[in-house]
């Protein structure tokens, strides 16, 4: 059941390079399961997190195939989070910073992600119960 509370998260890290991306996705998952709405403002490298062109690969060190390795993708996790939001009546709103997208050519995203800008982040913060900014270190 929706709680009526909203959490905004701003994230800057790209996929596959930092533990913060996994932590952020875990926080989103936990919040949605409690029925909280979640806004994500993906800034700089984080706009690559929902790229739908991400593809699984085998692992030549371990000798595993694509199927055996079942390599995860952050875009797959984000799609699952959009689906999970629907189960509790909570809303997930994911905005990719448009200028960050343009300078990276990172334009193809999974369903649910939309283009926006810093103004959306301000609006998110104003309308949220709280905001968590996760900067790059």
């Amino acid at each position: 059941m929706a709680s009526g509370k909203t959490l905004t998260i701003s994230i800057m890290d790209p996929p596959y390079e930092s533990g913060t991306t996994t932590t952020m996705l875990r926080i989103v998952d936990a919040a949605l399961k409690k029925g909280h709405n979640v806004n994500v403002f993906a800034y700089e490298g984080a706009v690559a997190l929902p790229l739908k062109t991400q593809a699984a690969h085998p692992n030549p060190v371990k000798g595993t195939t694509v199927e055996e390795q079942h390599h995860p993708t952050t875009s797959g996790f984000i799609s699952a989070l959009f689906e999970a939001a629907g189960l509790t009546g909570a809303k997930l709103d994911w905005v990719n910073c448009g200028l960050c997208v343009d300078e990276r050519g990172a334009t193809e995203w999974v369903e649910g992600v939309r283009r926006g800008g810093p103004g959306d982040f301000v609006k998110f913060a104003q309308e949220s119960t709280n905001t968590l900014v996760i900067g790059t270190r």
Partner: protein, 127 residues
């Protein structure tokens, strides 16, 4: 043949998404490609040598991480492939990790011995 020392310092960055540590992985690939490469674990990365790590159970909505990273096994497999793996004993002690806690075959060196280890290699790859 030239000898390379690959130093891993940052730990657990993207390891769940990649199911590996990227530097342990590329070091193993370099070995497979014929390089005489050694690995030095320092700072937080010494935790990679701790036996019995378990990253199972992670889910996002209905999406599960069905093949989690097994970094202690990755260290053991590196050693099995003929890669010398070192860990800085001072960094282990600072984190309360005992010698009995780590993967067999990891060689411990003191911080003061690192320069000597560097001298035994032709190139240092500090990631």
């Amino acid at each position: 043949m030239a000898k390379y020392l690959s130093i891993v310092e940052r730990a657990y960055h993207g390891t769940l998404e990649e199911q590996d540590d990227t530097i342990l992985w590329i070091s193993h690939m370099a070995k497979k490609a014929g390089a005489d490469v050694s690995v030095l674990l320092r700072a937080n990365a010494v935790n990679y040598a701790v036996q019995g790590q378990n990253a199972e159970g992670l889910t996002f909505g209905a999406a599960a991480l069905s093949v989690p990273p097994k970094l202690d096994q990755d260290i053991a497999e590196l050693i099995g492939a003929g890669v010398s793996v070192y860990a800085v004993s001072d960094d282990l002690e600072r984190r309360g990790i005992g010698r009995g806690d780590i993967v067999a075959g990891v060689r411990l060196i003191a911080q003061r011995e690192m320069a000597k280890l560097f001298d035994q290699h032709d190139q240092i790859w500090h990631w």
